[in-house]
Amino acid sequence: MPIRKVMKANEAAAWAAKLAKPKVIAAFPITPSTLVPEKISEFVADGELDAEFIKVESEHSAISACVGASAAGVRTFTATASQGLALMHEILFIAAGMRLPIVIAVGNRALSAPINIWNDWQDTISERDTGWLQFYAENNQEALDLILIAFKVAEDERVLLPAMVGFDAFILTHTVEPVEIPDQELVDEFLGEYMPKHAYLDPAKPITQGALGFPAHYMEARYGVWEANENAKKVIDEVFAEFEKKFGRKYQKIEEYRTEDADIIFVTMGSLAGTLKEYVDMLREKGVKVGAAKITVYRPFPTEEVRELAKKTKVLALLEKNVTFSVGGALFQDFSRALVNESEKPKIVDFILGLGGRDVTFKDLDEALAIAQKALTGEEFEEVNWIGLRKEIL
C-alpha cells in the first residue's frame, strides 16, 4: 500500500530519487534545493538507497560527475537551483548532446543580481535551449511523480535525453503537503532497471563518447537532439498514460481547467496554477467566462496542444515568472510561434509577474484580467505587461 506522508517538495524529490534507485547522485548544496541531496545522503547513509553519493565542490562538478556516471551506464540524479543551474549550463549541453538521461530536480529560483533566493522560473527557462526535457510541478505530489516520469521518458530509447523537473522555490520546496509515496514494487515495475544500449562502460567493448564532431557530422548530431525532443512528445503521452494506470494520477502536457466556453484562458506553469484555479472558480461564480491552463511539459514544447487550446478561446493570457528582454516572457515567444501560421487565432497578452518571490495575489490577477478584457473587447492593449510592479519607487 502506498503511504501518505506530510513533506516538502524537496523531500518529495528525494523520495522520488530513492524510489528510482539511481546508482550515482552527485550534488552541491544551494538554496532552496539543499534539502534534496541532504535527504538523499541520509537514505544512502542509512542503507536505504544503494548508491554512490558524490560530494563535489561546485554544481559544475556535480553535473560533470553525473555525465561521467551516466556515460558509464547507470541511472544518475542531482538537484540544484538558480546560480547552481547556471553554473551547470556548459555541461547541460554536453549531457543532451551525448544523449545521457540524467534527471535534475530544480527548486525554481530567481537569478542574480540583486541576489535573490526566492521563486521565479528564470533559472530553468534560461536553459530551454540546452536540449533538456522540462517538466514543471504544481504541488509536492507532482514534484515526486514528475521525477519518476522524467526518468522513464528520458531513458526511453526513442528519446535518450536528460530531463529537469522544476518546482517553485519555498512555495513548494519548503512548504509541507500530504504526499503519497508509491509502492517500491510498483515503481520498479514502472521504471525497470536502466540498461543503456548506447552509452556504457565495458572494457571489452571500448567506445568513444563526446568526441570531436567535425562540420561533416555536427549538424546531424544536433538534429538527433531535435528529433529526440520531437519523439519525446509521443513518449510522454504514453508514459503519462502508463503512470495513470499504475498510480492513478493523471498528467497531461497541458492541463485545462474550466476552459469550456471561455473567452479568456489564463496560461501558467508551476504552483501559480493552483492560485489560478481558485481565481477562475471565483470569476466563474460571478459569471465571467474564464478558464485556466497549466503547462506541465515545457520542453518539448506542446505545440499541437497549444493550437488545440487556442481554438477554444478568444484571448490567451500568459502569466509568466520570467523575462526575455525586449520580447516579453519565454511563453509569449513559444505561444506566438505555435500560432503564427494558424488562420484563426486568439489574441495573446503577456504578463510578467511574481519575479524573485513576489506574491501573486488576486489583485494582481484582477489587473491582468482587466488588460485581457481590453483585448477581448477590441480595445487597445499592451502586449507585454509587468503586473504588481511598484511603479512608485521607479
Binding site: 551525448m98 544523449r99 548506447h198 538527433g224
Partner: protein
C-alpha cells in the same frame, strides 16, 4: 611506400564502418578515423608542383596530421581527406614546390 603495418585493421574498419549517426555521436569502432574524414573545414589547400620537388621530405616530416604520403617514386602525395590546410608544408618546402591556394567548392 611500404605497406602500412595497420593494413589489416584499416581494412577491418573500412568493412565494418557505417556513417550512420549514433545517439550521442558515440564512436563504437576504434580506428574509425581512417574512414571518417577529418579535413572538411579547410580554407586553403596545398597545391603541389612535382617538377620543383627535390624529395627532401621536409613537408612529409612536418605535416602535423599527417596528411602526406609518399608515392612509389617517393614523391609526396597530399591526402585532402585529412589535410587541414595549415600551410606548414608550404612554409617548410625549400623549393616552393608547394603553394597554398584558396579552396573553392
Amino acid at each position: 611506400m611500404a605497406e602500412s603495418p595497420f593494413k589489416a585493421d584499416i581494412e577491418r574498419v573500412q568493412k565494418e564502418y557505417s556513417e550512420k549517426m549514433t545517439p550521442g555521436a558515440i564512436v563504437y569502432l576504434p580506428g574509425s578515423s581512417v574512414v571518417n574524414k577529418t579535413g572538411s573545414w579547410r580554407v586553403f589547400m596545398p597545391e603541389f608542383n612535382r617538377d620543383k620537388c627535390v624529395r627532401c621530405y621536409l613537408c612529409y616530416i612536418y605535416c602535423p596530421e599527417p596528411a602526406i604520403y609518399l608515392d612509389d617514386e617517393n614523391y609526396p602525395v597530399f591526402d585532402y581527406d585529412y589535410c587541414k590546410g595549415c600551410g606548414i608544408c608550404a612554409n617548410e618546402c625549400p623549393t616552393e614546390a608547394i603553394v597554398m591556394v584558396r579552396e573553392t567548392k
